[in-house]
C-alpha cells in the first residue's frame, strides 16, 4: 500500500514540517513516496531523498510548478493518484490550497488537519478550533489527507531514497503569479522555532513590539502575535498565532499581554511549556500557563531582557 506525500518547499529548502507529515504517513503504511513539484528545486530533491522512511522521491521540475499554483499542482497529483491509496500534504499554505482540488477531482472526501492516525482509514482531527476532537472514518477507497505537523515528530534524515524524474507537465493557464511580498526576518520561522514569544493587545501599539526583539534575539525565538494585535493593526497577519493564523507547538511559548481568547489558545495550547505575562490576574491565559507572572509588561519585558 503506497502513500504519496507532497513536499512543502520554497524551491530551495524542504520545509521541516514535511518530515512530520512523513512520520504521519509511516503510521499508515510503509511505502512512502515524496513528490517534489517546483522549478530549479534540485536542493529540495536532495533533502527529500534523505528523509528516513521515504522509498522514492518523485520530481516534477518545471516552470509551471515554480509558484506551486493550485490548478497546476492538483493536476499533477491527480495524474499520479492511480498508484496510491493515500495522498497526504502538510496543512500549510500550499497543501491547504491544492489538496481539496485533488479530493474533488478524485471524487473522494478530504480529511483535513489530522493530529493522529488510528488506522489506515480512521483519523483524529480537531474541530471547533480545537475545542472538540473528532475521530473520523473515511468511507472512500482513496484517502486524501492534510496533516497538522505540530502533532507529529519529525522523521530522521539518514535515508537514501530513489529519485525518479517525472516528465508530465500541466499548465492550466487560468492563473498566473504576479508577485510575492514575503516577510524577511533573521529570526526562525514561527512554525519551526523551538521558542516563540507573542504579544497581544496589551502591547498597545506596533512600536512596542520592539520590546520583544531583544528577548527573542537572546532566546533565538520567533515572534508571534494574537489576532487582537493583528486586527488592531500592530503587526502583519503572518505573525498571527491562533485558529485563524498559525498553529505552533514550540518547547517554550511566552504570551505577553495576551488575554487568552479561545481562538488564540487553539493555536498554541500544544506548546510544551507556556509562560504568561499579564497584568490582569483574571486573564484566561493563566489557566493554561505553566508559569504565570502577574505584571505590567512594560516593566517585565525590559527586566526579562536584561536578566536573560
Amino acid at each position: 500500500m503506497s502513500i504519496l506525500v507532497y513536499a512543502e518547499h520554497d524551491n530551495t529548502e524542504l520545509k521541516a514540517d514535511t518530515l512530520k507529515t512523513v512520520t504521519a504517513a509511516l503510521k499508515i503504511g510503509s511505502d512512502v513516496h515524496l513528490l517534489v513539484a517546483g522549478a530549479n528545486c534540485q536542493s529540495v530533491v536532495e533533502q527529500a531523498a534523505k528523509v528516513t522512511g521515504v522509498t522514492k522521491v518523485l520530481v516534477a521540475d518545471n516552470a509551471a510548478y515554480e509558484h506551486q499554483l493550485a490548478e497546476n499542482v492538483s493536476a499533477l497529483v491527480l495524474e499520479l493518484a492511480a498508484d496510491y491509496d493515500t495522498i497526504m500534504a502538510t496543512a500549510l499554505t500550499t497543501g491547504k490550497n491544492f489538496m481539496p482540488r485533488v479530493a474533488a477531482l478524485l471524487d473522494v472526501a478530504q480529511i483535513s488537519d489530522i493530529i493522529d492516525v488510528e488506522s489506515a482509514d480512521t483519523f483524529v482531527r480537531p474541530i471547533y478550533a480545537g475545542n472538540a476532537i473528532a475521530t473520523v472514518k473515511s468511507l472512500d477507497v482513496k484517502k486524501v489527507l492534510t496533516v497538522r505537523a505540530t502533532a507529529f515528530d519529525a522523521a530522521d534524515t539518514d535515508g537514501s531514497a530513489e529519485v525518479v524524474t517525472l516528465s508530465n507537465v500541466t499548465d492550466a493557464g487560468i492563473s498566473s503569479h504576479v508577485k510575492d511580498e514575503l516577510t524577511v526576518s533573521a529570526r526562525p520561522d514561527l512554525g519551526a522555532a523551538s521558542i516563540v514569544i507573542s504579544g497581544g493587545r496589551g502591547m498597545q501599539n506596533g512600536e512596542n513590539f520592539k520590546l520583544l526583539d531583544g528577548i527573542a534575539d537572546k532566546l533565538g525565538a520567533a515572534i508571534g502575535a494574537s489576532r487582537a494585535a493583528v486586527d488592531a493593526g500592530f503587526v502583519p497577519n503572518d505573525m498571527q498565532v491562533g485558529q485563524t493564523g498559525k498553529i505552533v507547538a514550540p518547547d517554550l511559548y511566552i504570551a505577553v499581554g495576551i488575554s487568552g481568547a479561545i481562538q488564540h489558545l487553539a493555536g498554541m495550547k500544544d506548546s510544551k511549556v507556556i509562560v504568561a505575562i499579564n497584568k490582569d490576574p483574571e486573564a484566561p491565559i493563566f489557566q493554561v500557563a505553566d508559569y504565570g507572572l502577574e505584571a505590567d509588561l512594560f516593566d517585565a519585558l525590559p527586566e526579562l531582557e536584561a536578566k536573560l
Binding site: 481539496p100 516577510t183 503572518d238 493563566f286 500557563a289 504565570g292 527586566e303
Partner: protein, 250 residues
C-alpha cells in the same frame, strides 16, 4: 457582473462549544447560531464590489435546513439581492456541498464566487477549492485583497511567509481571509427590506446528485485539558523555573 456568495450557519464564534455526554457529537441545543465569520467577510466583499459598480447582482446561497434562512436574511440585509436555500436536513461533507454549489454555478453563471476560507465548526477549509476544481474556474484562496479589472481578478493571498498576489482569469473562485475587510452591521431599515427580497427554496434531492456521506463521525471528545501551573512572583523566579524546572532555556 454577477457574484455568488455561499454562506454557512454555524455556532456563534463567542460561544464555547460543549461535547455531548455520549461523545456522539458536539451539543448545539439552544446554542446561539450566526453566519460564519469568514462568510460574512465574503458577503461584505461582494457588497463593496457592488457599491464600486463592478458587480450588478449578489446571490447568496446556503445548504441546510429551514433555520439557515435566518443567515440568508442577514446576508440580504447586508446587501445581497436574492437568496437560495438548498434544503436538506443532513449534515453534508464538503465535497457534496461543492457538488450542489457546482449546479448553482452552472445555472446562475456568476463571474465570481466568493466564499469564506473555512467554517469555524468543521474547520475543513475545502469547499472553495473543491468548487473551483469541479467547475474549472480559477482559484484564489485566503484573500486579503481582491481587485477586479479587465476580465481578470487580482487576488492578494495570505501565505505562510507573507503575501502572494495571483492574477486569475474570470470566472474565478475566491476564498476570504480575515483581513480582507471589516463587515458592516445591518441597519434596521435594511433588515426590514431584506424580508421582502426573494428567497428560493430548492430541495437538495432535486439536484440529481448522489449525496451519500463519504465520512463517518465515530466519536467526538473534549480536548485534553491543560492543567494550570503556578504563579511566579518575579522575573528572577520565572527565569529560575525555566532554567532548572522546565529546562527550556539555558
Amino acid at each position: 457582473m454577477k457574484v455568488l456568495v455561499p454562506i454557512k450557519r454555524v455556532i456563534d464564534y463567542n460561544v464555547k462549544v460543549r461535547v455531548k455526554a455520549d461523545n456522539s457529537d458536539v451539543d448545539l441545543t439552544n446554542t446561539k447560531m450566526a453566519i460564519n465569520p469568514f462568510c460574512e467577510i465574503a458577503v461584505e466583499e461582494a457588497v463593496r464590489l457592488k457599491e464600486a459598480g463592478t458587480v450588478t447582482e449578489i446571490i447568496v446561497v446556503s445548504v441546510g435546513d429551514k433555520t439557515c434562512q435566518e443567515q440568508l436574511r442577514t446576508a440580504l440585509a447586508l446587501g445581497a439581492d436574492r437568496a437560495i436555500q438548498i434544503e436538506t436536513d443532513e449534515s453534508l461533507d464538503a465535497l457534496n456541498i461543492a457538488k450542489l454549489l457546482q449546479k448553482v454555478v452552472e445555472e446562475e453563471q456568476p463571474q465570481l464566487v466568493i466564499l469564506g476560507k473555512q467554517s469555524i465548526d468543521s474547520d475543513n477549509n475545502q469547499t472553495g477549492q473543491m468548487l473551483a476544481a469541479l467547475t474549472g474556474m480559477s482559484q484564489g484562496t485566503f484573500a486579503s485583497e481582491v481587485v477586479v479589472a479587465d476580465g481578470k481578478v487580482n487576488v492578494t493571498r495570505e501565505v505562510d511567509g507573507g503575501l502572494q498576489t495571483l492574477a486569475l482569469t474570470l470566472p474565478a473562485v475566491v476564498t476570504t481571509d480575515l483581513r480582507l475587510n471589516e463587515p458592516r452591521y445591518a441597519s434596521l431599515p435594511n433588515i426590514m427590506k431584506a424580508k421582502r427580497k426573494p428567497l428560493d427554496v430548492k430541495p437538495a434531492a432535486d439536484f440529481g446528485i448522489n449525496l451519500t456521506a463519504r465520512t463517518s463521525l465515530l466519536k467526538v471528545t473534549p480536548p485534553a485539558e491543560r492543567q494550570a501551573g503556578i504563579m511566579v512572583g518575579s522575573i528572577d523566579e520565572l527565569i529560575e523555573k525555566l532554567k532548572t524546572e522546565a529546562k527550556v532555556i539555558s
